[in-house]
Symmetry: C2
Subunit: 476 residues, 2 copies
Amino acid sequence: MQSRDIDVAIIGAGTAGLQAYQAAKKEGSSAVLIESGSYGTTCARVGCMPSKLLIAAAEAAHGVAEADVFGIKVPHWSVDGAAVMARLQHYRDRFVSGVVESTKEIPDSERLRGQARFTGRTMLQVDDHTQVNAKAVVIAAGSTPRIPAPFDQLEQLLYTNENIFDLETLPESLAVIGTGIIALELGQAFHRLGVKVSLFNPYDSVGSFSDPAVQQAAQQIFCERLDVHLKVDFQSVEASQESVKIAWQTSAGESKTAEFAKVLVAAGRIPNLAGLDLEKTGLKLDDKGSPSWNRRTTQCEDAPIFMAGDVSGYQPLLHEAADGGRIAGTNAATYPEIRTQPRRTPLAIAFTSPQMAVVGQSYQDLDLEQIKIGQISYQDQGRAKVINQNQGMARLYAQADSGLLVGAELFTPQAEHLAHLLAWAVQQELSVQEILELPFYHPTLEEGLRSALAELAEQLYDDKAGCRSLLKTIGS
Amino acid sequence: MQSRDIDVAIIGAGTAGLQAYQAAKKEGSSAVLIESGSYGTTCARVGCMPSKLLIAAAEAAHGVAEADVFGIKVPHWSVDGAAVMARLQHYRDRFVSGVVESTKEIPDSERLRGQARFTGRTMLQVDDHTQVNAKAVVIAAGSTPRIPAPFDQLEQLLYTNENIFDLETLPESLAVIGTGIIALELGQAFHRLGVKVSLFNPYDSVGSFSDPAVQQAAQQIFCERLDVHLKVDFQSVEASQESVKIAWQTSAGESKTAEFAKVLVAAGRIPNLAGLDLEKTGLKLDDKGSPSWNRRTTQCEDAPIFMAGDVSGYQPLLHEAADGGRIAGTNAATYPEIRTQPRRTPLAIAFTSPQMAVVGQSYQDLDLEQIKIGQISYQDQGRAKVINQNQGMARLYAQADSGLLVGAELFTPQAEHLAHLLAWAVQQELSVQEILELPFYHPTLEEGLRSALAELAEQLYDDKAGCRSLLKTIGS
């Protein structure tokens, strides 16, 4: 048994942990990075990168399937599932190895392998080999897919994002459990690649839209394009050698069954707090085992304990994990001096088709009495029609008194770009009028946002004629 | 011969003219809109919209051609030229009819058809039928393609953007005269649709990049993908019934000839000032026949004469034409009271592949001694690799003392979106540091901009470590 005295101990060598390590070192602290699993971030190994690679193949397939719309004739085409997965794995492995290499550049003495658990406020036991006495601890332990009943009983043919990208080829059919962001991204991608996909959710919701109008638009489009089952009551799940049979009751009380080659569970993620023996820290834990936590300091209570990344439950996104890790590493190093850091305007994007994005305050965050809403349907939007992607809608929220844009929910083609524009405007605290003074090029999808902003301006300002007449003339 | 007394006479019912009309009416003035050609804007009839429709088909074809990269197998495919043009014309006609209908909603008494020419400072003769005595005149007469020698001698098989979109099917081969924005957009689109395309330019330049590094990158990629001939000296052009033979000398002095089914001239445009008898206004005209003009008032000298849109030679873009028309119409109505209006941050986008965009101050506008430059190659950019569009580069310009972003030249995948972000940041007068505090989602093409901004931050600020270490970890 070794014993180590260190300024900052970091549990988890993912995105948040690596940033925390860099930040602590930059403050001149000694630091040790403890990892129980493989090196490489969730994003690169099993998250954003492999999913975007799958989606890139799916979009290529979709482009071929709809090429006829544009006058391009494709009499026959097929999906080479092994080639799809090979390209995915090739690039994924390159992205992962980039992260692993930079992790391994950290001196051996500052890296520990093994499962960490608290034995005191800032004292950790790593497996059976090392005891770490730290001045401060950063918990950046990530999260794990939640496997709801009855799928937790399934012993084979069960997949999550952790292993689905290792398939050697595409399955013939796939049940996707969940209709959230990951479920829709992957479910739609597999569907476009020719897999027979069905999605199931006990609840009546798709994606992460809290705005009822956008939620309805999303349900309509996804239920039209995909085999989506909402408000299901799972009865049983049985695996044979080659397939899984799912039995469920519909919301109308009808009993149904279907068989699938594989099951992908994408029903949310659980912070990796179990096994850390957090109760040894003296922190007060809620019924989920989480301590109280401040997102702007990343500190737990007023202890020398910090949380960053997915384990914190705050915005499980790479750029937020990186920010959180940096804040945590800095504050852990300078503790008891703690700096409060601003967080960026919330920005969450799902790479479905149409894409989904939530910017700033979502609908559920709003005090509706203080808010004006502008909306635009992309069904008749100029550029969207040109590229045959005229579907979806956007809703933008502005403060009624100040006219400041505070948030938006977007279900539009290429929302990833529109969402950046709006997030930057929200963080800059721009008013609707100020945004309308910025350039919108023609013909672009960005002009759709201008239509929604013009609708807001009509509600916010007296000068009703200006914006609308422009929009009419240029036919956007 | 009729005679009409009117507050504001507007020459040209395109984007600028229509906006000027609306603005003048809004000020309570009487106005008349004079049009010598067809109703419908340049943008909708022969500009942005039909070109983007052609490009949409070309991108569909390109997607099919490269689908194999993603594991999608397409053994045979073909381009149905008639179907491509039919879709283009269908949507173009719908966009045009939208504009025409809104033009026809203007009362008959406020619309005149015919060629206007000045007979005095604010007195116009329209064809032989009407004399208009105006208090102020807005010139919004648009522009016409320039046909350089020897192509001005060609009597058949000669096309410009004015008639190329009326083709019933795709030509077998096409000589494109010019390598500017329109030439590259259309030349590349026809090439991707299977037309044998060659582009020719007497000068050594492609697109509109003034930054030598970006210009070089663009030349390299376009010359690799397309049959581009720069620095040519045209010797002769001869048309037979079915083809055009072009003879030219290369920059090395070699004589060459080639035959093409059609010739598309895209070598710039000339303001429609000839025929207006502008000398009757008493304005001082330069050697091109243009009066001096203020882009923030749109006024010519201090006369009750205003110019807006392409005829002014300033940023021949729809959103600028709309702004210019609005300013001109307002100032014409309130003359002699003239308001100076801010213009938006310059934003010009070409829908090639990679796309080209120039934002704010271009390289040639810069005082290089006061400027720091940050750049990013998209060859190794994460998301660009995922979608197999990892080509091109971006260069961002910031003031050395203040750190304010002032402009950029972009030759990147989907630059249209990145350019909006940067243009908004430039107009907001954001510093590099402030922009780096805004959210960049992962994995997006926007992260490439962050890399360039981080390179700028290293030159501008002391804290060199922060940004780079983040970028390294997340592998963007």
